[in-house]
Amino acid sequence: MDSYNAPESTPSASSRPEDYFIGATPLQKRLESVRKHSSFIPTPPRRKIPQCSQLQEDVDPQKVAFLLHKQWTLYSLTPLYKFSYSNLKEYSRLLNAFIVAEKQKGLAVEVGEDFNIKVIFSTLLGMKGAQRDPEAFLVQILSKSQLPSENRQGKVLWTGWFCCIFGDSLLETVSEDFTCLPLFLANGAESNTAIIGTWFQKTFDCYFSPLAINAFNLSWMAAMWTACKMDHYVATTEFLWSVPCSPQSLDISFAIHPEDAKALWDSVHKTPGEVTQEEVDLFMDCLYSHFHRHFKIHLSATRLVRVSTSVASAHTDGKIKILCHKYLIGVLAYLTELAIFQIE
């Protein structure tokens, strides 16, 4: 057994994409193999443990607080053609008109729904990984309440935001007419997401696709988020497996005290500052073996559908909830990678 150094000291803050990926990522390897028409020989990929990047410290925690503790449904989005940040007011107006028109057609009208809405486009400054990443932007639908008791601004009915965190591999492949914001997150009624998606697709000739997260990536997320340094834990670390074989499904939830999960991770972890495939596998195997010891059940034969930590939680259906402002960029970076992979 190789010896390894005690837990690493925090590396200096950096915002270059190379610092995020050490060695080739699975995405780059897959692209390589497709180009060469050779069979994919997996060498263990590595990813850097999310740290606070320089850029992220510019993000006002208060401004992004509304992004945390909310469940977002994930989509990948192909590059937007002839999108301009100076036209946001115009887009607000156009989308507003489109939504009202669609709803008046009788599509997706819910009982008691009000047509009195307001659409706002705004930029999310600092929500990027590298300087090269395009600015993230936000779309919100607010209700304009009729009742005097509620405040004038109205409440937010639907939120969607578009971002790109360390999207170099995609940015390099498109011309200047395109804006690459491959990760789209939506919160609110599905019917609204559909209408807004239609408008974007028509206006910018792009395409949304739901972003599922498979068990392999969920395991990576669990390991990476457990590896993040936390001052205090706000949530237990939890895994959810679904067993398909029974007459109806059986769900098995395994929650472990976050300090114990960290202790287990620290015991498995060898390479300072990064996470390797081997470590992810070993971490998961330890959990499987602890479980098997008590229940004689092989969790590895079931389907991992959800992982939850104090940093974030993710569900295989493409749902994410981010709990920790400090690692927001790190979480989004992984999701951007998955989105880009799906687009290509």
Binding site: S145, P247, S249, L250, D251, I252, A263, L264, C286, I297
Partner: protein
């Protein structure tokens, strides 16, 4: 109508999904048929609620009326609470008295009122000789908190009561006392059994207690399937693969494992044939019906 009552009714109605609203209002039977007909239920919810509050004001709704609405809401949304099970017993040689619902309700209410002075107690009887009880707790000096009530479902022909797990633990002994005395029992204990599904809990406890209960309700499907199984583990990590992992750590791993399924017992039984579990199944997975427990704590010996 008191402002706090109006606010409470408003918040209760706001919780009710639109598609259940007319059903629940009818079950409540407080607003008349004529009054309900004046309401346009296709408006925005806020407007509907506004109108309903106005009608409640016309009829001078009291806190008891509001509490009854809350009970009905909870009866429709039982799964929102986790239910504990209490078992009562009579003293040795005590006679089995004929149960008198009126006497029970009076006695129960009196005991709580004497102890706390400020408490709202409401009852709603249902079939199967069951009574739903709602208790909003106050103290000698503070008014009852209507937003954190405890619900109890007591089956008078059995020694069992189901209570919604409440945050206000300090009132549990008093509640136990009131139940025991009012129902003419001697002692009460909490079972290691809990679930969001009252029907599942009933299936587990009543099956053993009362055979005749089953024959009366032979059409009720076996609800124990939707019971859950919770196991609290505090055991050291011991890996077969790699002896050095967590080898120096004295502390155990603190874990909580939950199994859930619409058909839990059948699902667990199917794991071994599917190759997912080693046969024979671990006793932890098979003992729910016999032990009448569905949460366990496992510690290193």
């Amino acid at each position: 109508m008191d402002e706090t009552v109006a606010e409470f009714i408003k918040r209760t109605i706001l919780k009710i999904p639109m598609n259940e609203l007319t059903t629940i209002l009818k079950a409540w039977d407080f607003l008349s048929e004529n009054q309900l007909q004046t309401v346009n239920f296709r408006q925005r919810k806020e407007s509907v609620v506004q109108h309903l509050i106005h009608l409640c004001e016309e009829k001078r709704a009291s806190i008891s009326d509001a509490a009854l609405l809350d009970i009905i809401y909870m009866q429709f949304h039982q799964h929102q609470k986790v239910w504990d099970v209490f078992q009562m017993s009579k003293g040795p040689g005590e006679d089995v008295d004929l149960f008198d619902m009126k006497q029970f309700k009076n006695s129960f209410k009196k005991i709580l009122q004497r102890a706390l002075k400020n408490v709202t107690v409401s009852f709603r009887e249902t079939e199967e000789n069951a009574v739903w009880i709602r208790i909003a707790w106050g103290t000698q000096y503070t008014k009852p908190n209507q937003y954190k009530p405890t619900y109890v479902v007591y089956y008078s022909q059995t020694p069992y009561a189901f209570t919604s797990s409440s945050m206000l633990r300090r009132n549990t002994p008093l509640l136990g006392q009131a139940l025991t005395i009012a129902s003419k029992h001697h002692q009460i204990v909490k079972m290691d059994l809990r679930s969001r599904y009252l029907d599942s809990l009933k299936a587990i406890v009543f099956k053993q207690y009362n055979q005749t209960y089953e024959t009366h309700n032979s059409t009720t499907p076996l609800q124990e399937r939707s019971l859950g199984l919770d196991i609290n583990l505090e055991t050291k990590f011991k890996s077969g693969l790699n002896g050095s992992i967590l080898a120096e750590r004295e502390e155990p791993l603190r874990c909580l494992i939950k199994f859930s399924s619409p058909h839990l017992l059948e699902a667990l039984k199917s794991l071994a044939p599917a190759g997912i579990a080693d046969a024979p199944l671990s006793p932890l997975l098979t003992c729910i019906p016999n032990k009448r427990m569905n949460y366990f704590k496992i510690r290193d010996k």
